[in-house]
Amino acid sequence: MAQKSMRDAINDALHLEMARDPRVIVLGEDVSGGAGGSSGEREASGGIFGVTKGLLPKFGAGRVIDTPISESAIIGAAAGAALAGLRPVAELMFADFVGVSLDQIFNQMAKFRYMFGGKTGCPAVVRLAMGAGMNMGAQHSQTIYPLLASVPGLKVVIPSNAYDAKGLMLSALRDDDPVMFFEHKALYPRKGEVPDGDYTVPFGEAALVREGEHVTVVALARMVVFAEKAIDALAKDGISCDLIDPRTVSPLDADTILESVENTGRLVVVDESPPRCSLAADIAAIVASRGFRSLRAPIEIVTAPHTPVPFARELERAYVPSPQRIEQAIRKVMQE
């Protein structure tokens, strides 16, 4: 099987589905790039992270649409195109730009199906590049998925590896609801085995990344990679963990987490977002209420601090939850 970066895996999914389904369109800032430039290059960018590369030459400017910097209009246009029968993929570039376009996301596309009595859906995919660690400062580094996971009507997808990213993207493109597809910037170059053909990874089904018996660790996106490191380091001390990657947080596969906690009795949740109203808090609450009797130790959450994302390297390195902090949390629940 081919080794592919997560960037190329998502690109693969877009290519496959655009070829399969003529209703799929892609729109956003610089998704091809270069329109109006002086070099005459038709595709000077292919997305600022290169995820939409090659789509314009193959599918044309009618379906691969460079937009002005107008996030509200990009999301709103995707919502409208979806109502009118297309399956748009809107690229928001940085997830932080949700701030500019929030109304179109959470008052508009999220609520159409319900408000309109189930008579129409809004099959749009919004792609959001997220995550701290690249020194991009407070307005380009946030993992704001908790904000959107809290909105009924939105599906929220957070892949942690190339294989899942492709399969989840194909599921997203075929889903009849608005899907917020969060791509961690630090994972874009990370390679994994990705089959060439068509396959889907279903929503609402967690992946069991590591199996163990002592502690259940739940992690998302880049934190899955860090949790793997922590868990592998603990193996030498005879501590083994279930590592669960929910992959989608709305819907959330709470059953898998609860089942695992039934076996282990201990839970550590790792989330790159600040702690309040985070996915870590949400998952901890679910387990505390529905799995209370299984718990042998207080739940630990490992998150960023309750601060904006700092710029300086040293501060940002302290901000992002590290494998060592995850390891410490696991050791802590093991002491009970």
């Binding site: 099987m1 080794q3 970066s5 960037r7 190329d8 600022i48 992270f49 290169g50 590369k53 660690g133 690249m134 991009m136 942690s160 590896n161 190339a162 294989y163 899942d164 399969g167 910037k185 630090a186 170059p189 990370r190 390679k191 994994g192 085995e193 089959p195 396959y199 279903p202 609402g204 089904e205 967690a206 992946a207 069991l208 199996e211 990679v225 860090f226 793997e228 490191k229 922590a230 592998d232 380091a233 030498k236 279930d242 669960i244 596969d253 059953d255 898998t256 089942e259 695992s260 039934e262 390297r313 390195r317 302290a318 901000y319 992002v320 939850p321 590290s322 494998p323 060592q324 902090r325």
Partner: protein
Amino acid sequence: MAAPIFAVTMPKWGIEMQEGLVTDWHAAVGERIAKDAPLLDVETDKIVNAVESPVEGTLRRILAERGQAYPVGALLAVYADPAVSEAEVDAFVAGFRPVDASFEPADATVTGAPAAPIAAAAPAPVAEAGEGGQRVSPIARRLAEKLGIDVTQIHGTGPNGRVSKEDVETFAARQGAKPAATAATSANASRRERLSPMRQTIARRLLESKQTIPHYRLEATVDGAALQARRAALAAAGTSASLNDFIVRATALALVEVPALNAHLEGEDVVTFADADVAVAVATEQGLLTPIVRAANRLGLAQIGAATRDLAARARAGRLTREEITGGTFTVSNLGMHGLERFDAIINPPQVAILAVGALRPAVLVRQGQAVVGERLTLTLSCDHRVVDGAVGARFLKRLVELLEAPDTL
């Protein structure tokens, strides 16, 4: 040039670039390079592009090789004024400390853990939907494997028919499955491996058989002279049949004559079958498989031979279909090739009997009151006493011996 010595380092293109592959150099040591002149080509997983000379200067050292990847900030080349000595350039190179521009959090290096390569192991693709699009939660899948339960047999009660841990437990309780006990650790060097799902299935079924079926054994010997003579005649005629082919053929015919052994015990019902679907035990690397020669009573020796060879080959290659290993009415386990005198076998439920075949070995036989040296085969029949009485088993075994001692009828 800003300083008498200038470091050319791996640039950072794009936002998440962390390293670049040097693919070509456009300048040689000693050349005077103009500002903005193409100096080298660097490839990232996004683009290939030329690194233009950041300043004007004389190229004194090239430190990055073609085909090698370097992290952002790594020293690729050194410019220096002609007045700067070689020793000073060397000292500059030796003293150069690249910036740590990595994206790792502060305490990324876990104490005591070995340094991990940049590309960590790829996560194994997870089979999302089981056979026939079945959805199984990861914990449920693991539990099923532990208990040796085939998840496809479980009815899922979760969303979209998903099989949950609870479903597996319910199923297991019905089946009476129990997780295997953990082996004690010892000072001796050991290796612990989880049983494969197939091995777990075998273990569960055999344990169930041994614990719940009242086995008894009957033994008989076959004078192999006629069998060997018949095989030799066939070989002379240009066809060949293995000893096993004769045994399967004879077993099938005997089963049709004594159908009480050609049966399944299902709950409180005994189901007897018209044809003998003879399961033939095959050892594979993954474990014992019992592919089935269907209606062996209707097949000639040659057909049986062809069928068993094909099934055995595919069993060892792991390419048997589910139908080919389920539903046998009787099993023949032949360990003769290992030279064993005799052994006994455990019944493969819901079957009610199994035949264990030893080796055809030289032996002192008694023929017409005379001790003679010949060849002897020992057959051991295990029966489920709940449905097969001793006399019935004996009748079957007697008939089988008769058939094998008069192989011309086979």
